[in-house]
Amino acid sequence: MSGFLHVTGADFAAVAPEMVLCLAATLILLLDAFARPLRSYLPYVALASLAIANLAGRDVTGTFFSGAVEVSGFTRYMELVALGAVALAILGGAAALERDKRDQGEFYALLLFAAAGVILMVRGGDLLVVFIGLELMSLCLYVLAAWYRDNPAATEAGMKYFLMGALASAFLLYGVATIYGRLGTTSFAKIQGLASTPGLVAFDTMLAAGILAVVAGLAFKIALVPFHGWAPDVYQGMTTPAVAFLSTAPKAGAVLVLARVLHALFPAGLGDPWRPLLAILAVLSILFGNIVALSQRDLKRMLAYSGIAQMGYVTIALATFTTDALEGAGVFLAGYLVTNAAAFLAVAALSSGENEPKLLSELAGLGRRKPLAAAVLTLSMLSLTGLPPTVGFIGKLLVFRAAVEGGLVPLTIVGVFGSLVSVGYYLRVVYHLWMKEPAREVSLVPDDVLSGAAFLLTAALMLLWGVFPRALIDVARQAAGALLGR
């Protein structure tokens, strides 16, 4: 039983990243409101805060706030992913918002808050904290989804995302309640303690239902079939730079939390109903995502379905649930972050306006007009296809290898079939960019420094990690090891 306010400085140091982000966000809000002339510097403030948060998060480990947060290599990995995602979204977003005359301050602020939420969600050592982090993130995303609130599509996206999100939260909460009821605690540490002593926890129908509810709630954030319905609509309606964030960090966060939950409940490894369950989710997502993406004509929708499929591959790793598998998942997610963000930023740069539909056909002949963006988009398509020498290949390599080692060869076969199908639509983008003459002229925004930087950065990472993956793999391995305590 803990006394009154007995938190130490170490506790606050531990949550420094979240605090930095939240405070920076608040600062931005204030500047935006009261220091108009400084507005043009807001993106840089945001970026700076990211840098600071990153530094603040370095080499802290342990549990703090009496178990409310657990900081480890695992959570550190998530921090990097989240910060990276926000950075890219901001870099790419500035130009688009400028072009469309949309308020920016809150945009950055909410992105930072969302990042804080993701980080908190993954660091949470207690289901309650996880839930709060998740809600913090979600609320920001709801608002960002409806950012272009005068735009019918955007508001619709916001509405759909919000309603589904709320439903998912309810399910998640039900699961938390049940777990709490059956195990008497919501703390991962305690749950793991109970679960690791055999016979102590009876996995009866009640608990199973609870766990399932949690899985469903997180699968919704990851957008796995059949909990994916929102994704295409939201991607399509949401402002593109924000999608660059939405489609990466939250998914990654949800995946890691799921891994955390599963590991806490099944320290000895996934048992019978759960591994096949995840396998089913993976197969459904891979097949549905890839096949439906094939018939999409709207770029962002297509990328949404592709994202569903990509998360299917990650789910293969979850189903395998060995150190190698989680390491693979980590690498895959990092690669997916860079690649997907690059793709969406390129889409933003290659479109004439946020309110315009982003049709594949609009890309025709842009290879000549905007070589950099087009090249980056091409590269990311290749990476999503999983072709060497891009990071996409490395991710698939690790995941598939782990799955094969784990005896899930059938899953990998489904996976490669999916990849084969995916060639169809990923290369269609390339075809439009380089091999097709434009039907009509599209007016484009002039290249700006920030997005240019984003493009060079992502391109560099896609290739660098594809050719020299060692560093990335080592980090991911540490993360996985930290989670599984190996």
Binding site: I132, E135, T155
Partner: protein, 111 residues
């Protein structure tokens, strides 16, 4: 993290009853979420689901004589309020843009 619920008597009503009621309310909320057409009504039903879950939390807490459940409920209520404000704001914006909040009329983004 725990806080023991200071002295409570053994429950008169079998806890299972509370759980069943809570679960039923959850299901009813779900039904509302699935069957209503008005965005607000749907969200309303979801709020009901949340409250149902709260009931479960309280029941478990009571059964275990444990504070944690109540604390969670406390937070959930707050979060629900926040959600509500955002959600309703979204609905307002939606209504401005589309002159309706009937979700069956709102399917611009599809397929």
């Amino acid at each position: 993290m725990t806080g023991v619920l200071s002295g409570v008597a053994p429950m008169a009503v079998p806890p299972g009853a509370y759980l069943v009621v809570g679960t039923l309310l959850f299901a009813i909320g779900l039904a509302g979420a699935l069957l209503k057409r008005n965005a607000l009504s749907i969200f309303l039903s979801i709020e009901l689901m949340m409250n149902a879950v709260n009931l479960l939390f309280l029941t478990y807490a009571r059964m275990r004589g444990d504070m944690a459940g109540q604390m969670i409920v406390f937070f959930v209520i707050a979060i629900a309020a926040a959600e509500a404000s955002i959600g309703l704001a979204i609905f307002v914006a939606l209504f401005r843009a589309r002159r309706t909040v009937d979700v069956d009329k709102i399917a611009l983004l599809k397929w």
